[in-house]
């Protein structure tokens, strides 16, 4: 060891892990120079393991991912480096690989991915809403399969969702249409949910695929209970809720969709309801421009909790169940994380962005992992344990990134004002 290396600061490090036993090293403290960062520490662990193809690791210090050198991390926590520190190492997430991309004629406003396991998930899992008034179905590699609606004079689509295997499309003229399973029913929608008297902004389907929640600029959330696929609507709906629009619809009854009135209305927001999430059958979460995030009991139709962010308009929302965390994107360039169990109070974390955070999606299978789309065009993959530095950046959009979606496994889809639909996959 040369003279220069001998004088540099060292600290005593003990490695632990929760990985399978063949990746475990002895917990004897090692004396390591503090200039080492993630890469150097990963080399040390690989050397201890004697793994022939080196396997990259990521390191957790006090529950936060180590970014930058060990010395800086110690200084930031006010640790002297004289006592032994414990580093937990985990598997490093490989950068996502682009799987496909597609171009639509206008801005992409919304995206939905079918949950894995359903029949559409194997054929056409990607549903995208577009400002030209149509919703498009894509297969997993970005090949267009079908277009729903659209045409001359159609209002822009603002939200899409999968109701089981049926695509649901909500547009700016207040219409919410449910299409036949897989979008295969030709040129017309199956059901039309009426009740909004302003533009619809968001849409969420219940996990059991029996209910639908929509929120919009009329500040209310409407709950619809569409009948199961194949069952005629008249049998499940009382006659007064069906409103024929006029003589024209009676003539073209074979083409015009059945109308379905709202089963319940949830009032409480004082501004546009901008995002909805329905993670469990009982709980519905809504975000609004009035800056509040509300938790509703979907069965009762009443708010059970309110998370407030001091008047910063919330633009997007997603709920993760395994750590019970709500992520909301705000107009003050922050992505905020809330503990869903705390029922109010301050946010538990904030991730700064460079523009409005327009969309957010949790991974679902890997806790701590989420993806956010920002108005600066960036789509970034975050680990909640590293709130300052993104894990990876997905391909940027020219203009604004408007929507991201995660299929619950390894595929991430993003869309933006450049009309590009980008599909990426995470390495297993």
């Amino acid at each position: 060891m040369s003279q220069g290396q001998a004088s540099e600061p060292h600290t005593s490090v003990r490695f632990t892990t929760k990985l399978e036993p063949r990746w475990v090293v002895s917990d004897t403290p090692l004396d390591l120079p503090t200039r080492l960062s993630r890469y150097g520490l990963s080399e040390v662990v690989n050397h201890l393991l004697g793994a022939s193809p080196a396997r990259p690791f990521d390191f957790l210090l006090d529950g936060e991912l180590l970014r930058g050198s060990l010395g800086k991390a110690l200084a930031a926590r006010g640790l002297s480096g004289e006592s032994t520190i414990t580093l937990e190492y985990i598997e490093l997430l490989a950068p996502p690989q682009p799987r496909g991309e597609a171009l639509v004629p206008d801005w992409i406003s919304s995206l939905a991915l079918a949950a894995p396991g359903s029949s559409v998930a194997s054929s056409n899992p990607v549903l995208s809403g577009c400002y030209d008034g149509a919703a498009y179905l894509w297969d997993a590699s970005g090949v267009q399969a079908a277009a729903l609606g659209g045409g001359e004079g159609a209002a822009a689509v603002k939200a899409v969702a999968w109701l089981g295997e049926r695509p649901v499309v909500a547009s700016k003229d207040g219409a919410v249409r449910v299409w036949a399973a897989g979008g295969s029913a030709g040129g017309a929608a199956q059901l039309s949910c009426v009740g909004h008297h302003a533009a619809v902004a968001c849409l969420a389907a219940a996990p059991a695929a029996d209910s639908l929640a929509t929120g919009g600029w009329d500040r209310s959330i409407l709950l619809f209970r569409p009948p199961a696929d194949g069952v005629p609507a008249a049998s499940s709906e009382p006659p007064p809720s069906k409103r024929a629009r006029g003589g024209a619809s009676a003539v073209t009854a074979a083409v015009a969709p059945e109308e379905l009135a709202a089963a319940a209305q949830l009032c409480g927001h004082t501004d546009c309801v901008s995002a909805l999430a329905w993670p469990t059958a009982a709980l519905l979460y809504s975000a609004s421009w009035d800056g509040t995030v509300r938790e509703w009991d979907a069965a009762v139709g009443a708010a059970t909790a309110t998370l407030s962010s001091s008047g910063k308009a919330a633009l997007c929302l997603d709920v993760s169940l395994s750590p019970a965390t709500v992520a909301t994107g705000h107009s003050d360039h922050q992505l905020r994380l809330w503990d869903a169990r705390s029922r109010g109070g301050a946010p538990t974390g904030a991730i700064p962005h460079h523009g409005w955070v327009s969309s957010v999606a949790w991974c679902g299978v890997r806790e701590h992992l989420l993806v956010s789309g920002c108005h600066d065009g960036g789509v970034r993959l975050w680990d909640t344990r590293s709130p300052r530095v993104a894990l990876h950046s997905l391909p940027r959009h020219k203009g604004k990134a408007l929507c991201v979606a995660w299929d619950g496994a390894d595929a991430v889809v993003s869309g933006g004002t450049d009309g590009q639909l980008r599909i990426s996959t995470l390495a297993a």
């Binding site: 003229d173 207040g174 302003a198 421009w289 008047g311 910063k312 308009a313 360039h333 523009g355 409005w356």
Partner: protein, 577 residues
């Protein structure tokens, strides 16, 4: 050789002795050996130094002269200077003492002559005195004086005998009485002016000594007076304002930039560019109807005021707006013939109708701005050069327009409706007049010290009014307080183009030609005793100055603390909190 000290005595006195004299210590100097003539002759031939050997009779010895002695004798014989190296004409070296002549060149005492009166001059003076005493001279002098006296006026006499001017300084009897009554300390004059008929009769000022004394006393006592120096902490002069961080939310950062307009845009609302209307002329101002249930916008284009409908939006608000503006709709159904000189509403041309324009109303001159009543039924448009018809009031439901003023009070710059009372605020170039529309009379007149008002905005509470002017002033009026501004803010470096209150939050902003937007917190208290609190919050930048114009108009989001600004550079910026 010892020196002989015998002095000036004849040497022959010592002829018979062996010695020739005495040295300094009194010992005898012995005579040298006497040689006879023969020996002298022989020696003269033998000795090579014989020709320069002389006999020193005083000491009685023979002395051999050296070469130098011989040369010296030779130079003396030729009447030269004795020294061989002596230069009688040396190069003159002028010398100067560096620090002045401290030493006299000569130490000789001064001569006596300069101290004695000159006898020569005394003689000359005596001669002149004798001449002046002569009778002839005396006579000539007397003649000359007589001559001069004849030619010259007697100024002295003239001045002394002239009566002094300035009768206006004399006291009238009333003034004299008032002077008498006054306290001596309060009298503006310490004396009573009096008239004299000649200057020579003017006495000496009797208060002179006392005044001099008092003045000296003042000067003498002056340093003993305690000096009261202002000892004020500069920070205490600043008002105690809350920190801007406590007054969130307010627009803090640039969030979006809507580019796409060529030329100048004056007022726009949010979102993706849903639709582009080409209205055929320069659009000066656009405003949405503030009533959320009818979706109608009013635009001022050239000399016309247009009412626009949103296209292809089958939402209830749009439907209601369209129904209100249908040709047969509204309450105007079967209206009678328009009165003489009334302003006529007309349907626009086919291509404008396809752009969504429902109605157009013509001004006489080009209109510049439009503003809505908060209920959304009335709106006012301004054409500053329209003289008595500068302001037109339009009613949407009855589809009527009219000019509320019979004659012009000056160039109208902006109008605004009062949010709570049937008042119309009209800003002319220098003043703001508030008219009661119900009773049709002037309710109040405000006097800002601004030179040229550009814009005004009424607080949604109704008791406060904001004025922006082209001479960089932003005036806050409290209508209950006074007709002059409660606060005047001069923070912009160039003309203010637009001011706006937030419809819900305690915020207001001003836009200026210096391409910046200043955001303020303006809280109005319902308590009548406390004045409004104005806190400057943020300077928002982002626009660029294009042809000396910066930010042309600003508009607040109806619910969020978001601010839209339209710039002369063709872009619209959105600032959010």
């Amino acid at each position: 050789m010892p020196l002989n000290t015998i002095g000036n005595v004849p040497l022959e006195w010592y002829d018979g002795f062996e010695h020739v004299g005495y040295d300094l210590e009194g010992r005898k100097i012995m005579r040298g050996a006497r040689t006879d003539e023969l020996d002298a002759l022989i020696k003269r031939f033998d000795d090579p130094d014989a020709n320069r050997t002389i006999h020193d009779a005083l000491h009685g010895v023979d002395v051999v002269l050296s070469q130098e002695d011989v040369a010296l004798i030779r130079r003396l014989q030729r009447r030269r200077y004795p020294g061989a190296t002596f230069d009688p004409y040396p190069e003159t070296v002028p010398f100067d003492f560096p620090d002045g002549k401290v030493h006299p060149l000569s130490s000789a005492p001064p001569r006596k002559a300069p101290f004695l009166p000159s006898k020569d001059e005394a003689k000359k003076v005596m001669r002149l005195v004798m001449a002046m005493r002569s009778e002839q001279y005396q006579r000539s002098v007397a003649n000359r004086r007589l001559q001069e006296a004849k030619e010259r006026p007697d100024y002295q006499q003239l001045i002394w005998d002239e009566p002094p001017e300035g009768e206006e300084y004399l006291f009238t009897p009333e003034e004299a009485k008032a002077w008498e009554k006054m306290d001596p300390a309060d009298r503006p004059l310490g004396f009573v002016p009096q008239a004299y008929d000649a200057m020579r009769k003017v006495p000496q000022y009797d208060g002179l000594i006392r005044e001099r004394f008092e003045r000296c006393l003042d000067l003498y006592l002056c340093p003993r007076e305690a000096k009261t120096r202002l000892d004020i902490d500069p920070d205490s002069l600043l008002p105690q304002l809350p920190s801007p961080a406590e007054l969130r939310p307010f627009p803090e950062r640039l969030s979006s930039r809507f580019v796409g307009h060529a030329g100048r845009v004056l007022s726009v609302e949010t979102g993706r560019c849903e639709r582009t209307c080409s209205l055929g002329a320069e659009v000066r101002s656009v405003r949405w109807c503030p009533n959320g249930e009818t979706a109608v916008a009013a635009a001022v284009v050239g000399v016309k005021m247009l009412l626009l409908l949103p296209l292809r939006e089958p939402l209830p608000a749009a439907v209601r707006g369209a129904a209100l503006l249908e040709p047969g709709g509204g309450e105007a159904g079967a209206s009678s013939e328009p009165a003489e000189g009334a302003v006529v509403w007309s349907r626009p041309s086919a291509e404008l109708q396809s752009e969504g324009v429902a109605w157009e109303v013509s001004h006489v001159r080009s209109a510049t701005s439009v503003s809505w009543h908060h209920r959304g039924d009335y709106l006012a448009s301004v054409a500053p050069e329209g003289a008595s018809r500068a302001v037109l009031l339009h009613q949407l439901s009855r589809r009527k327009s009219g000019s509320p003023f019979a004659k012009s009070k000056g160039r109208v710059e902006a109008v605004a409706f009062h949010p709570k009372k049937p008042w119309l605020c009209v800003a002319t170039q220098r003043h703001v007049r508030i008219y009661d529309l119900a009773s049709q009379e002037l309710h109040k007149k405000l006097n800002p010290s601004a030179k040229w008002i550009s814009s005004l905005s009424v607080h949604p509470g109704g008791d406060n009014l904001l004025l922006g002017s082209y001479d960089k002033r932003l005036c806050w009026f409290d209508l209950d307080l006074s007709a002059s501004p409660y606060k005047t803010l001069r923070s912009h470096s160039l003309a203010i183009r637009s001011v706006a209150f937030h419809p819900r939050l305690p915020l207001f902003a001003s836009a200026s030609d210096d391409a910046s937007v200043h955001v303020y917190h303006g809280r109005v208290y319902s308590d009548l005793m406390s004045n409004a609190l104005i806190v400057p919050l943020k300077i928002l930048k982002g626009h660029e100055i294009a042809s000396h114009l910066g930010v042309m108009d600003i508009a607040w989001h109806p619910t969020q603390p978001w601010l839209f600004s339209a710039g002369a550079d063709g872009s619209i910026l959105l600032y959010t909190g």
